[in-house]
């Protein structure tokens, strides 16, 4: 009962938050100088008053801004994200088209970083003070501190340009005509570099966080009690230390998961990955208002959703936490 109440309350809160976010986004986007018409006219290298007026009317930018906001919110409520005049496609379709590639990239990176991050962190905590610990900490620090953009470019230079082991651009080999398993294998190869680049940073964060939390928990009384009772060290580590150390990791994982849809602008840009992050970034540069607001709205909804999921996961990891 309590759980249902909690869920209803949170979902309602979430919906209000999303509407507020939509309004604020709308105003923020309009505050940036320039509009889609000036960008398109600029790209054409020639324009005149007629051209500009024509486009403004087509984009609905000739109406007062309050009317535009009302129209927009009215559509959002009906789950209509609008139409991108620049791309000449509905916003929802543009977003859905990019979704598989985005989820494949960010999802793989998410799983990979969690698994390896927690494993390395736990290993590091267990071997605290040894060379293994130092090595893991050092590697984690390096990946944590290296700018993603640079790491991505270096990965391409080494593994694509120099060694020619892995493809460095795009989603699949263009024009290969591969299908089925061959296509899956091709995509998997294209996935390696961007996923690694994206995963390494979070892996480093998870490893460092897991290690610190585990060392802290290991000093606590209940661990000492368990040890005094004669529980095996392996079990103490897994059931007592790791489980209690996971809470901060879950918090961070929730934040990372909330950003899964938003994609990874830098990684997608360097690896020419056809994801949502790029869609959003291009929309920003081109002032493609409806597309930009659409992507913002979807990412906001995801953040709200994953916040809720994170809270639920807390109760699983630590039953003492109440909703």
């Amino acid at each position: 009962m309590k759980r249902t109440q909690f869920m209803v309350k949170r979902v309602l809160q979430g919906l209000i938050a999303i509407l507020l976010i939509a309004t604020v986004n709308f105003m923020l986007v309009r505050a940036a100088p320039g509009d889609p018409v000036s960008v398109m006219a600029g790209e054409a290298g020639a324009s005149d008053a007629q051209f500009v007026a024509q486009l403004r009317a087509q984009f609905g930018l000739d109406k007062p801004i309050t009317t535009q906001l009302a129209t927009y919110l009215g559509k959002v409520v009906q789950l209509d994200l609008g139409y991108s005049y620049r791309q000449q496609q509905p916003v929802l379709k543009l977003i859905l088209d990019r979704l598989p590639a985005t989820l494949l990239l960010t999802g793989s990176a998410f799983v990979l970083s969690l698994i390896f991050g927690i494993t390395l962190g736990a290993l590091s905590a267990r071997k605290a003070g040894t060379w293994v610990d130092s090595a893991i900490s050092l590697v984690a620090l390096v990946f944590y501190a290296t700018p993603l953009y640079w790491l991505a470019l270096m990965a391409v230079l080494v593994f694509t340009v120099q060694l020619d082991w892995l493809p460095g651009f795009g989603f699949s080999t263009v024009g290969s005509g591969a299908t089925g398993l061959a296509l899956a294998w091709d995509i998997a190869q294209h996935l390696v570099l961007p996923v690694l680049t994206l995963a390494l940073f979070y892996m480093a964060v998870y490893a460092r966080m897991t290690r610190a939390a585990m060392l802290e928990v290991a000093q606590m009384d209940f661990v000492k009690t368990a040890r005094a009772k004669g529980v095996k060290p392996g079990r103490i580590l897994r059931a007592h230390v790791l489980r209690n150390a996971l809470l901060p990791v879950v918090t961070l994982a929730g934040i990372q998961a909330g950003g899964l849809i938003g994609g990874a602008v830098l990684t997608e840009t360097v690896f020419a990955w056809p994801g949502l992050g790029r869609l959003m970034f291009d929309a920003l540069l081109q002032r493609d208002y409806s597309l930009l607001l659409g992507t913002f709205l979807v990412t906001a909804a995801m953040a709200v959703l994953f916040n809720l999921i994170t809270d639920l996961v807390y109760t699983l990891v630590d039953p003492r936490i109440e909703l």
Binding site: S38, M40, F169, A272, P274
Partner: protein, 522 residues
């Protein structure tokens, strides 16, 4: 890995053939193969009757054609029109169309398409075509293969306005009667008469075109397929070229330091040809409306303070020339006898003292087009500081830059424009009073107004006799250099980087934008 070997092999054979066999023997070319071209940014559409940004023209130039094409000297060449005549008074032009030309969907191309394209479609959708057609009184289909233009007044550059990028022919049978030409479902599957047909567009990844087997030019096109790859990051584009994924980097695809690096790789060709028609010229727009820029001496001082030679070497890596005034040297009637714009710090300081400039800071808008323009802005600030002009950089993105120029909200701003082969088409718009209008960064943004200049440009456009046109434009160049409405910086020579195995990628004054009809792979 296989691909890489193949490329190396390709490079080796190209080297041999180029070294051993005279080029004319290769003219026929070999059939087959695929050319991969870098594309950035992804265009909103490749229907170039409605969208004219650089990437759209690069792809669309393979699909659509104009009545004429242009050689490197910008002389008109037959394309969809095979012959043309001009009446002695310069008011009637008659074009004979090529027979047996078919659209990609098999329908015949006729005079009705020409009249529809120019008089109906482009007049509504194409700002440049519209302004070029302002002098046209009527366009008439004489017979299915003959079109007649009646002009209101003589128009000197008339035969220069028909390239595919400025006046593309679009199919009447598809667009006739549509309520809105800008938004039409057929734009997604463009139909032209060009050497390549649209095949597929995987958004954010690539655009594929395939050979038009029914093309009206014999033995063309030669390659099977063209892929335009969307790669958003400049450094990644350079890497993609180096790794073999990309064969052709169109001008402006990579930063200039990467051009220098890639040029040294084996089997790589760098050329600055193919921009003669566009003839880009860059300058610092000076807001003539505001003090102290309203004073001609201040503008002269500003120009004299600039070290264009250093900018050319440092920022452009040599891929630019210092101009002598408002005309790119590839333009018709460009004067060769004026001195190159040179630096003279002492004279600049003297002029500033005369003006009584007290060091009021000026806002300079850099162009948000990558590293090169950023460096130019920094060098400019340095140059101007050395003579005592204080400059603050006001960085912004593309939309912000457009907005500021549209609304005249700047003191100084970088800009570069295509000059389109003729002063009446690509120069007059920047200096005549009638072109002072908010809402475009490409007209007389600086707000310069001189009745004498207006009169000369007006005469120049109406004059038909080349010798008289030359005299008029020579005079206007001298006048503008004296008045310095803007500070011209460089004639830009955009380098196209491509693999030697790609033969003939560029064979006209319009360059890659004319399509890959004659390109073939060794």
């Amino acid at each position: 890995m296989k691909r890489r070997n193949l490329l190396q092999l390709g490079g080796a054979t190209a080297g041999l053939t180029l070294a051993g066999i005279p080029l004319e023997l290769l003219a026929a070319g070999k059939k087959g193969g695929v050319i991969n071209v870098a594309l950035q940014p992804e265009p909103p559409s490749i229907m170039i009757g409605t969208i004219q940004n650089g990437p759209a023209l690069l792809v669309g130039g393979n699909i659509y054609e104009g009545l004429l094409s242009y050689d490197e000297q910008l002389a008109p060449q037959p394309s969809l029109a095979t012959a043309w005549t001009v009446s002695p008074d310069g008011l009637t032009y008659v074009f004979k169309l090529k027979p047996n030309v078919r659209w990609h969907d098999g329908k015949p191309f006729t005079a009705a398409d020409v009249v529809f394209s120019i008089d109906v479609f482009l007049r509504k959708t194409h700002a440049r075509a519209r302004s070029n057609m302002a002098v046209v009184q009527s366009i008439r289909e004489v017979d299915p293969l003959t079109v007649e233009f009646k002009l209101k007044q003589p128009f000197g550059p008339f035969l220069g306005i028909f390239p595919a990028n400025g006046m593309p022919m679009v199919p009447k049978h598809i667009y006739e009667g549509a309520a809105d030409f800008l938004k039409h479902p057929a734009h997604a599957t463009p139909i032209g008469t060009g050497p390549f047909k649209f095949k597929e567009w995987a958004r954010a990844s690539y655009i594929q075109l395939v050979r038009n087997d029914d093309y009206h030019v014999k033995d063309a096109p030669l390659v099977d397929s063209l892929y335009f790859h969307v790669i958003p990051d400049a450094a990644s584009r350079a890497n993609a070229f180096e790794s073999g994924k990309i064969d052709v980097l169109p001008g402006g695809s990579v930063e200039y330091f990467d051009v220098a690096r890639l040029a040294k790789l084996p089997g790589v060709v760098v050329t600055t040809k193919g921009w003669e028609m566009f003839a880009p010229l860059s300058w610092i727009v000076i807001n003539n409306r505001k003090a102290p820029m309203d004073n001609v001496k201040f503008r002269q001082a500003l120009s004299l303070a600039l070290d264009r030679e250093a900018m050319r070497k440092v920022a452009w890596y040599g891929y630019a020339e210092v101009p002598n005034g408002p005309f790119n040297r590839h333009l018709k009637y460009a004067r060769a006898d004026l001195p190159k714009l040179a630096r003279d710090k002492d004279k600049a300081k003297q002029l500033l003292a005369d003006v009584g400039y007290k060091g009021e800071p000026l806002r300079l808008l850099p162009l948000p087009y990558g590293e090169t323009w950023q460096r130019l802005a920094e060098i400019t600030r340095q140059n101007l500081a050395e003579v005592g002009i204080k400059v603050e950089l006001a960085p912004t993105d593309v939309a912000g830059w457009n907005q500021r120029l549209n609304e005249w909200d700047f003191d100084l701003a970088f800009n570069f424009l295509y000059q389109h082969g003729d002063a009446a088409l690509g120069v007059a718009r920047n200096y005549t009073t009638s072109n002072i209008e908010k809402g475009s960064p490409f007209n007389n943004v600086e707000g310069y107004s001189n009745p004498k200049v207006d009169a000369l440009f007006d005469q120049g456009q109406k004059e038909l006799d080349p010798a008289k046109r030359q005299a008029i434009y020579f005079e206007v160049q001298k006048l503008l250099v004296d008045e310095m409405p803007v500070a011209w910086l460089h004639e830009l020579n955009f380098p196209t980087v491509y693999r030697a195995r790609v033969n003939n990628p560029i064979n006209s004054g319009v360059g890659l934008n004319d399509g890959f009809a004659k390109a073939w792979l060794a």
